[in-house]
């Protein structure tokens, strides 16, 4: 039995293929999915999604989304998803600095705080994934 992984953003279908295993950033922390998983719908955090197929491992930076899982399929809907080799490290660094600057000035109660925190998280995630895998390619 295989697991068909489909990752869709509003602009395009990122991936649609059979994989052996997926590790995704769930709401309550990372979770792994193997073929035959119970029906499961969850929100995803900003985080790293890993999938393995045929001994190869691939990494994606996810920016908020959700996943629907059943026995043979896993469908992930996200705003954006980037493979490790697609990440623009310079842009991520600039985004990180911008977010850090902006977040200093405001209190945690501010309406903008959450959005800025998310932007910072995204930038940090991109940098992290880039440093882990991006350079090798």
């Amino acid at each position: 039995m295989t697991l068909k992984l489909t990752i869709i953003t509003p602009e395009k279908i990122i991936i649609d293929k059979d994989v052996d295993e997926v590790i995704a950033p769930g709401w309550h922390g990372e979770f792994g999915v193997l073929p035959g998983h119970a029906r499961f719908i969850t929100l995803l955090n900003i985080g790293e999604l890993i999938f393995r197929s045929g001994g190869q491992e691939e990494h994606l930076a996810l920016n908020w989304g959700f996943a629907e899982i059943n026995q043979t399929r896993m469908t992930v809907l996200v705003q954006t998803a980037e493979f490790d080799h697609e990440i623009d490290a310079k842009r991520a660094l600039a985004a990180k600095q911008r977010a850090e600057e902006a977040i200093k000035g405001i209190s945690t109660m501010d309406a903008q705080y959450e959005a800025l925190e998310a932007a910072l998280k995204r930038a940090l995630l991109r940098i992290e994934i880039y440093q882990k895998y991006g350079k090798q390619k």
């Binding site: 509003p10 029906r39 499961f40 719908i41 969850t42 929100l43 959700f66 809907l77």
Partner: protein, 291 residues
């Protein structure tokens, strides 16, 4: 009859116009093809989201959520008006604006206020000409909608509908039926209409599913995404219609130009022939007189 030189000049201008219309037609065709692909890509996302929302609505009481609100009376509506930035696309804009006028008349009759969000310069100019207030103007990207303007629209829509400032949100746009036909349409975005999902999906409602963090929370983050993806979809469709309309308009302009050139060539040949005949007659007459 116009002189030969005048006709020649006229043929030249028509020929160069034909070149322009032909180029515009080809550009529109390329852009349309690109957009069609984009629309197909977007469709799988929006369909999946609607499926998920539908599944959740089967399992839980959704009337609690602000975006599922169903106002009893409609006092104020928001119209998202999609027109093009540039003209030369046949009846694309005039049909849309006619529907807007109709909507304005209806709203006056029903005593309901109207607000507008426009994408495309033509819609904005129309409202400006009649001194109608415009909430948000997103002109400049009608032929190639991007997700950031979608987010701008969705932000206003979601916030103000939940707060109750608007009782309904509608689109007025051109639906893409085929390359040869686009239909000007009024369509509801909010309140959420009954979702069109095929029947066979219904029975899965009693299978046990794990939800994280909770049904309610998933729903409240799904609904805004669904609205965004609908707006994106509509903008894409309007852009596709725009290019298709321009393509057809330019195609017929090009055909008309060709007809004109044919007619003018005929007139030109006739004028040339009669000039030759006249000259010949002069020579013959001259020779006759010399004898």
């Amino acid at each position: 009859m116009p002189t030969l030189a005048v006709i020649r000049k006229r043929i030249k201008t028509v020929t160069s116009t034909a070149k322009i219309t032909k180029a515009m037609k080809m550009i529109a065709a390329v852009k349309l093809r690109k957009l069609q692909q984009q629309a197909i890509n977007a469709r799988s996302y929006s369909r999946k989201i609607e499926e998920m929302v539908h599944e959740i609505t089967l399992r839980t009481d959704t009337s609690m959520h602000a975006l599922m609100r169903r106002p009893e009376t409609t006092r104020k509506s928001l119209i998202i008006l999609a027109t093009s930035d540039r003209g030369l696309c046949g009846g694309f804009n005039s049909n849309t604006l006619r529907m807007v006028s109709q909507e304005i008349l209806e709203s006056k009759k029903e005593n309901r206020e109207l607000d507008f969000i426009t994408t495309g310069r033509k819609g904005r100019d129309f409202l400006r000409r009649y001194n109608i207030s415009n909430r948000l103007d997103l002109s400049g990207s009608s032929g190639n909608p991007d997700y950031s303007s979608v987010m701008d629209i969705a932000g206003i829509v979601i916030k103000e509908f939940s707060e109750g400032s608007y009782d309904e949100v509608k689109f007025i746009y051109n639906k893409f039926v085929s390359i040869l036909s686009q239909k000007t349409t009024r369509e509801y975005l909010l309140p959420i209409q009954k979702l069109e999902i095929s029947e066979d999906k219904e029975e899965s409602a009693d299978v046990k599913v794990i939800y994280e963090p909770s049904l309610q929370e998933i729903l409240s983050s799904l609904l805004p995404r669904m609205i965004e993806s609908r707006i994106y979809h509509i903008l894409l469709e309007s852009a596709a219609s725009e290019h298709a309309a321009r393509m057809t308009a330019m195609d017929s302009a090009n055909n008309n130009a060709k007809d004109m050139i044919d007619n003018l060539t005929l007139v030109m040949n006739r004028a040339r022939q009669s000039a030759i005949t006249k000259e010949l007659m002069d020579i013959v007459n001259g020779a006759e007189a010399m004898r």
